[in-house]
Symmetry: C2
Subunit: 443 residues, 2 copies
């Protein structure tokens, strides 16, 4: 992986300049990632923490990068010297991929010298904001689809590298496979895909295309039957592949009409086990309604890889504590509608009868134990420990986590998916800051 | 750049298997990228064609990739042998970055053996769909912002590599700078950025933070004044930097109220030349209304890098011709609401008095000339010629193109931005396909 150091907002380096000059760069500080909003939804799903290790390992300022920064007058000599030897020395703890989160959840905490904590803000937020948006949209589609197969096929609708991250996030969130081969190679996500309209169009006839496919792959494939007329296409497919044909795919038309017709026709032709997959501009609402129809699987593209209407998770990265006189002092801004909650935090979730009761954050130095019959779950896991980057868990482990977590939201699926307000808010249990803040010290 | 070959949907390789077996892989074919819809807008702006050259150069199947594909049973031996020696041998022509487009515009044309044309579909669409979505949103923001400064600062809200492409696309579309350093290094986009709330919070007081910044950078900077109380912050900033302070930034609160208050206060303090920049969840609608206020510049994040409500350009890649008996025969699918228009096409635009009159596509082999006092503009430029990848123009050249093009849409800015239907549709001038298509040959 090429260096990730310049995947950074310029202001981080400008601030670093000032912090080096004022002596703040080396002062221990704590930064936190959290969301103020879930974008009108009931729950969020963390994505991207499993990609952080690789990105942090590649966060190095080589000679060429430092020279460019100096030439562009982004930094001066003291900062250049600082960056030449830069190696992140702090610790990072985070909610792992596949964990649920709510407004206020301390999704990631960086404990590091102030200057180091500044530098990695943009990279961390880029990774978490994109992957989390996709994981959340995908988890909702998984709930909506019930037991039907879900295929992520949106690679062509997002940036080419984002597509790989999206496929990983969607699989963690419960999709069965992806069309994206790089996600298969890199993260072990199962890949799938059979044919598009080009193959049909290129052959002299639809029948010729199916026969060519049957000769190479046999009947364990999916025939795309809507290039011309769907009924005609289904007949051609069954004649070419036989009644053992694994599946057909319909990518156009009114799916409510077409899947019933297709099921009837397939059954008439004796292809009673041939599955029906549909694709084409599907979203969560359509999937929820279509599960009642004879559909066996959904191919979802745009509406999963672009977050299903919420294309970024709106996570922010804020300084929450800085050491003064040897003590980590909480800090918070008071900007209108953008207040922050100061202090170092770790997240915990309380469950009763396997259902979430509450989520709270508390100083990680405090030991917490359940006081009743509820179960208490510590939510953060280490990503870096004093400069050592830990290997992340596999995508499969993250996928299992979310499969375990989704039922803790409750049994009423409609209520969970229809919620326009967060189902829970993570409360901070800790000393509250004086509302005056530090700004008033000036006067 | 690492190989881009697996940034591909699996079905391209499955289709290639069939095409190799049926002899179609080597048959000359033409594929086309176009949009059916502009997502409820009047015009689109092409982005991403300038990134294709680099991506295509890296589209190579090395031994490791081929082995993985075989091990995963994506492909068999004949396809493995084909890929080992794969080098794209076709030609690609495209609307360059910064060109306007409309539904039906033949944005990109691939003339290549069928098997080769299949393989690059996903990569091309990923690049064009993302970059075009950002370029279009950014161009609309540019029109909305008038002469005010526009700063792209959305890197933290999209995938870390997508952020670099987004910064490039936004700059081509008329933004003045980006926060993203990698876009500066790689594409020459001007970068900017001064301070965030963390710097203020880390210092013992707001005044101390401004003084530290002033000591390092002087007054040619932007002070972020809303960490605590905006009026207080402005007074502290002018005291620390002096009345020569270049700019203040306000990132919270009601901008309609705050910018007027800020202007009055700055003028009272004698900082009459200090500019006011605002940021924080700005979108096209807010920018259009805020240009009437005393705002000198806008920092836009989420709403430009995620496409301003249209996060993907919905461009598709379709087979439009395939050689049969030595002749390039047009092909088209008839799927409900997803019909395509067959035949090779190149795009032309007719202008009169520097305004667009119409856009049309026609067989590139046909010579077209204006028949009246209008000007005819050929829209496509070569990207690859028979396997040779051409160097793309610079982002600065693309930026100049769009600056020249935007006035050709007309003078009524409100009508252009308020349009919910395309202002033009690219008509195809050519022999129309029989509506029956090839599917009916089967019966």
């Amino acid at each position: 992986m090429s260096s990730t150091a310049l995947l950074t907002d310029r202001y981080e380096l400008t601030m670093l300049e000032t912090a080096i000059a004022s002596g703040l760069a080396e002062v221990p500080a704590t930064f936190e990632v959290f969301a103020r909003s879930l974008g009108g939804r009931g729950f969020g799903v963390v994505g991207g923490t499993g990609r952080l290790a690789e990105a942090l390992r590649a966060f190095r300022f080589d000679d060429e990068i430092v020279r460019w920064l100096v030439d562009e007058r982004v930094i001066g000599s003291p900062t250049a010297r600082y960056l030449e030897h830069f190696r992140f020395s702090g610790s990072i703890a985070a909610y792992p991929d596949g964990e649920l989160y709510f407004p206020g959840s301390p999704i990631l905490r960086v404990d590091a010298p102030f200057g180091e904590g500044l530098l990695i803000e943009t990279l961390i937020l880029s990774i978490l904001n994109f992957d989390t948006a996709v994981a959340t949209a995908a988890a909702r589609l998984r709930l909506a689809a019930g037991t039907a197969t879900l295929i992520e096929m949106g690679s062509r609708r997002v940036h080419e590298r984002a597509a790989v991250a999206a496929a990983r996030a969607a699989w963690i969130a419960g999709f069965d496979s992806t069309s994206n081969l790089a996600a298969g190679q890199r993260y072990g996500v199962p890949t799938g895909g059979t044919m598009g309209h080009a193959l049909v169009l290129a052959h002299p006839s639809e029948r010729a295309a199916f026969e060519a496919q049957a000769a190479v792959i046999g009947s364990s494939t999916t025939a795309l039957v809507d290039t011309y007329d769907i009924g005609h296409g289904i007949r051609q497919a069954i004649e070419a592949f036989g009644t053992d044909l694994a599946a057909i795919r319909i990518d156009s038309g009114n799916p409510f009409v077409e899947v019933r017709r297709a099921r009837t026709l397939l059954d008439e032709l004796g292809a009673t086990k041939t599955r029906i997959l549909i694709s084409g501009d599907l979203d969560e609402g359509l999937v929820r309604r279509l599960v009642a129809e004879p559909v066996d699987g959904f191919g979802v593209g745009t509406k999963v890889v672009t977050g299903g209407g919420v294309p970024t998770a709106q996570l922010v990265y804020k300084l929450v504590a800085v050491e003064r006189n040897g003590v980590a002092e909480p800090v918070a801004k008071l900007s209108a509608n953008k207040e922050t909650s100061g202090g170092r935090k770790a997240g915990y979730r309380r469950l009763r009868n396997h259902r979430i009761v509450e989520e709270f954050s508390i100083d990680p130095a405090v030991t917490v134990e359940p006081t009743d019959d509820s179960t208490l779950m510590a939510l953060e896991v280490p990503v870096m420990v004093e400069g050592d980057i830990l290997d992340p868990e596999s995508a499969a482990q993250s996928r299992q986590r979310l499969a375990d977590r989704l039922p803790t939201l409750g049994e009423d699926l409609d209520a969970i998916l229809d919620a326009t307000e967060p189902l829970f808010v993570c409360h901070h249990l800790g000393p509250s800051l004086p509302r005056s803040g530090h700004g008033q010290h000036d006067q």
